[in-house]
């Protein structure tokens, strides 16, 4: 179900200072998709999630879930969380320690007063779906972190909510389990075709899990797009830097021919992908991702974007080598093939495809 949020603001008062957790947020969250709110801690993503679910009361604005307005300051509407028909997976999972797995999952159905037979059937079905059959009688505290996470998911799914919200649900798992669970979660959610809003500060999680990513900063949504758009096409420094590792080279636009944009940088002209909105002379940064920096074995062969540099350091990280390469006054981070055969102190020729040089103008 679609969620429409308009002009939502929320301020906190702490030590006499006003902190804007949300500043006039306008966003429409599409139905039956995984929508991720991504941002550094303190950017307001969790506050926005809690406003949607009803655990937080915004100062201004309106929230509508499907056709129902659940919050409106102007019309003085506030639907409490228990009557919004949503569900949520908490960061701490919030598994009730005094109940068994079955009782935890059955709770939303009991609250709705369903007959016992149906509760049993649906709880069993949901537990089967999240691969927790046979755990019904277990006290909820006697489960591993990953299992607790799945109990929380089952509890959120069992009453077939209109929308399911996730507040950093994987952050308490260790790295390997997190990777597996991420994949599982993606499968569960795409199978169910459910509207999901997912909050995280982990860019890998956002990129791999989402249909749409909204990047937040200082209480605002600064950019919305598919994971690929966010990663490759953003023209914002903050987004390009936050979503992945990036070399940001400062410079100014020197020419804007038909197919490309040329940026004059401290180490020479960089031919970039066409950026329509910038005029000659504008100060910009060029985003070059480390994985797109290539070492040329021999001569340049007339290609654009070839620079001479010196390998300052080289770190073997297993599947690749991470090198810092001094080009003029700039130091570029490059991800090189482990077999590239360069060593510290080598003079090298670098090449970056213009398609992977993005102009950041905002």
């Amino acid at each position: 179900m679609e969620i429409r949020i308009s002009n939502l603001s929320k301020n906190y008062f702490s030590d006499g200072k006003r902190i804007a957790a949300l500043a006039n947020v306008d966003v429409t969250i599409p139905a039956k998709q995984i929508f991720t709110l991504l941002g550094p801690s303190g950017c307001g993503k969790t506050t926005l999630l809690r406003c949607i679910v009803g655990l937080e009361v915004p100062d201004t604005g309106e929230i509508a879930i499907g056709d129902e307005v659940v919050f409106s300051r102007e019309r003085n509407v506030f639907v409490p969380p228990e009557r919004r028909g949503l569900n949520m997976v908490f960061q701490s999972y919030a598994i009730w320690p005094h109940m068994t797995v079955f009782d935890n999952v059955a709770y939303p159905l009991e609250v709705r007063g369903l007959p016992n037979e149906e509760i049993r059937r649906r709880v069993e079905g949901t537990l089967k779906f999240v691969q927790l059959e046979g755990f019904e009688r277990r006290p909820a505290t006697r489960l591993s972190g990953g299992q607790q996470q799945r109990v929380a998911l089952a509890r959120a799914l069992v009453a077939e909510p209109k929308v399911i919200l996730f507040d950093e649900p994987l952050s308490n798992l260790d790295a390997k389990l997190r990777e597996e669970t991420r994949k599982e979660l993606r499968e569960f959610l795409t199978t169910l075709k459910i509207t999901a809003v997912y909050v995280t500060h982990d860019r890998l999680e956002a990129l791999s899990l989402s249909d749409t990513v909204a990047v937040m900063k200082d209480g605002r949504i600064v950019e919305i797009g598919t994971p690929r758009q966010i990663y490759f096409d953003s023209d914002r420094r903050f987004v390009a830097d936050f979503i992945g590792r990036a070399n940001l080279v400062e410079g100014s636009v020197s020419a804007a021919p038909e197919a490309v944009t040329v940026v004059e940088s401290p180490f020479g002209a960089i031919v970039c992908r066409k950026e329509a909105d910038v005029s000659t002379g504008t100060a910009v940064a060029v985003c070059i991702r480390p994985e797109f920096i290539q070492i040329l074995p021999g001569d340049a062969g007339g290609r654009p974007n070839v620079f001479r540099g010196r390998v300052e350091s080289l770190l073997f990280v297993g599947d690749a080598c991470e090198g810092e390469i001094r080009v003029g006054s700039a130091l570029l981070v490059a991800r090189l093939a482990a077999t590239a055969g360069v060593k510290e102190g080598d003079e090298v020729l670098l090449h970056v495809d213009p398609a992977h040089c993005t102009v950041l103008s905002k």
Partner: protein, 569 residues
């Protein structure tokens, strides 16, 4: 490398074992002996005599009502206060820390006496005032009753209940409630299905602990119960050993067995419940501050209730005692009362040789007893926390055992021991009894201090080149100081006001403050009692202040460059 120190461990087990097992063992043997002089000659006559006493059934019933009533009152109030403090935006939250600490410094017997002075049926100040103002024929309140005893004991045990409940409430993961709301349950259902069940182990732990405390309580039942002929187990035992021509320590021991068995069972129940409550602390969410409930208009009315409670707990007893110590006899505060004030009672006390002796004895027991107790606690905690062998586990259980000891019962147990030693009727007997009964008060703060000293802190000092002794001096001891100070304070204040053990062990020549106050209460000398009581509070406060000042001096972190500058200059 972990040192095992077998000699230290077994030496401590022997010492702590003596302190904790000796009174219990002597109590058991004493209860089946024919008498103090005929120790070990087996008989079941004392049990028969104790449990066929027709009054015993009433004693048991009174005890049950008194302990459970106090537990419910204390826990209910503590739950209310802890909820307000941790979950709402009530103003002046620092007051809650005061409520939970300060009342422990007011001796129980004085607290009970101050309520007696207010609400006794013949000349309680409030009763006098109400009869005069409303023109009543009878006093409206009678503190010499079970409800009166429950009120006073419940207020006295409120801090303990609060200290059990507040951490549980603070570590309560708010998202447990939030997820219930999101699942469709409204506020009341969430309270009933989630909040209270999750807090249940902590609530039961608080009730259990207060039952144990009120079972051991002697001050309230003796000051308020005996005049109203309402006997509980503690005062029943006292009556057997202290009144009449032939005190029967065998019957007392037989009755004491019931108290002891209940106490030990309850304290192990308590231990189980706190473990349970810790198990309920799930992974708590990081980064999100718990939402506080906005009390809106109820903020200040609720705060007024809290302020009123803290007045009842702290200001009222002190004011009543100061007032009573200055007026010639009990009267309603009035112009005439203030005009007739004098230092007469204070002068009487300072001229009374027994009162002076009790001041001296209690001060000695407070200072020397607490110092010895803390010294023993250091070794015991070191063994429990840092040595960690199977034997040190035994040590932990042993030292925990004395936590359940009701003073008067342990006093009877020690009595059976001391009559066979030259320690009988000496101050040394009291010293040993005190340390045995109050050892957990020294152990608890020191255990947490030792746990804080992570072995890496010591190890890194060793790696930096500091030898064992140097590490001990520069790293371990400075980090222990706060624990040492609070352990010493707890023990010293307990010893200065100790009543229930002393009332059995104290003999002519070894009178202590609380016992002397108790004698004044028996004789109805309220003016002298109040004067001596205020002196007692001043001694306690003086010791607390002195210990805190010394502790602060020792823990001051001097900036290193400052010191170097001084050396250079």
């Amino acid at each position: 490398m972990r040192h095992r120190h077998p000699l230290l461990t077994f030496g401590l087990i022997a010492l702590v074992g003596f302190l904790t097992v000796c009174p219990v063992f002597m109590l058991v043997v004493g209860s089946v002996s024919e008498g103090l002089e005929a120790f070990g000659r087996f008989t079941l006559a004392k049990y028969a005599q104790a449990y066929t006493d027709p009054a015993f059934r009433d004693v048991l019933l009174n005890t049950a009502v008194f302990t459970i009533g106090s537990a419910i009152l204390a826990t209910g109030l503590a739950l209310f206060l802890a909820y307000l403090n941790t979950r709402t935006n009530i103003p002046f939250k620092s007051l809650f820390a005061v409520i939970s600490i300060i009342p422990m410094m007011i001796p129980h017997i004085l607290f009970a006496v101050s309520w007696l002075l207010l609400l006794n049926p013949s000349n309680g100040i409030i009763n006098l005032f109400l009869t005069q103002v409303l023109g009543l024929n009878n006093s409206p309140f009678n503190i010499y009753s079970l409800p009166g005893m429950i009120l006073v004991e419940g207020l006295l045990d409120l801090p303990i209940a609060y200290l059990v409940l507040a951490p549980a409430m603070a570590s309560f993961d708010v998202s447990l409630e939030e997820s219930s709301r999101v699942c469709g349950a409204a506020t009341l259902r969430t309270l009933r299905r989630i909040t209270l069940p999750v807090l249940r182990p902590a609530i039961l732990a608080s009730i259990t602990l207060v039952v144990v405390r009120s079972l051991a309580s002697f001050a309230v039942p003796s000051v308020l119960g005996i005049p109203g002929r309402i006997y509980v187990l503690a005062t029943h035992i006292y009556q057997i050993v202290a009144t009449g021509f032939a005190p029967d320590y065998g019957v007392a021991a037989a009755v004491g067995m019931t108290v002891l068995v209940f106490s030990i069972a309850l304290i192990y129940g308590y231990r189980h419940l706190t473990a349970e409550s810790e198990r309920f602390v799930t992974i708590s969410s990081r980064g999100y501050r718990p939402t506080t409930i906005d009390l809106k208009g109820a903020r200040y009315p609720l705060f007024a209730i809290v302020a009123f409670l803290s007045c009842l707990l702290i200001l009222l007893p002190v004011l009543v005692l100061v007032y009573t110590s200055l007026v010639p006899y009990t009267m309603v505060p009035s112009g005439r009362a203030f005009a007739s004030m004098s230092w007469r009672h204070w002068a009487d006390v300072l001229r009374d040789p027994i009162s002076l002796l009790s001041l001296k004895n209690s001060l000695f027991l407070g200072v020397v007893g607490a110092s010895l107790g803390v010294l023993l606690s250091i070794f015991v905690c070191y063994t429990i926390v840092k040595v960690k062998t199977a034997a040190s586990g035994i040590l932990e259980s042993l030292s925990f055992l004395s936590f359940s000891f009701p003073g008067i019962v342990i006093g009877v147990g020690f009595m059976w021991f001391f009559v066979h030693t030259p320690l009988y009727a000496t101050i040394g007997a009291l010293l040993i009894g005190y340390i045995a009964t109050y050892l957990p008060y020294g152990l608890r703060p020191l255990t947490s201090a030792f746990i804080q000293i992570h072995s890496h802190l010591e190890e890194s000092s060793r790696v930096c080149g500091g030898g064992t002794l140097y590490t001990l001096r520069r790293i371990v001891i400075p980090l222990l100081v706060p624990g040492l100070v609070s352990g010493w304070i707890l023990m010293a204040t307990m010893f200065v006001r100790e009543l229930s053990l002393s009332v059995v062990l104290s003999r002519p020549g070894t009178e202590v403050l609380a016992v002397q106050i108790f004698r004044f209460a028996e004789d109805g000398l309220w003016g002298r009692l109040s004067a001596l009581g205020i002196m007692m509070i001043m001694i306690s406060t003086g010791l607390v202040v002195a210990a805190s000042l010394i502790g602060r001096k020792l823990t001051q972190v001097e900036p290193a460059d400052n010191r170097r500058l001084q050396v250079v200059g």
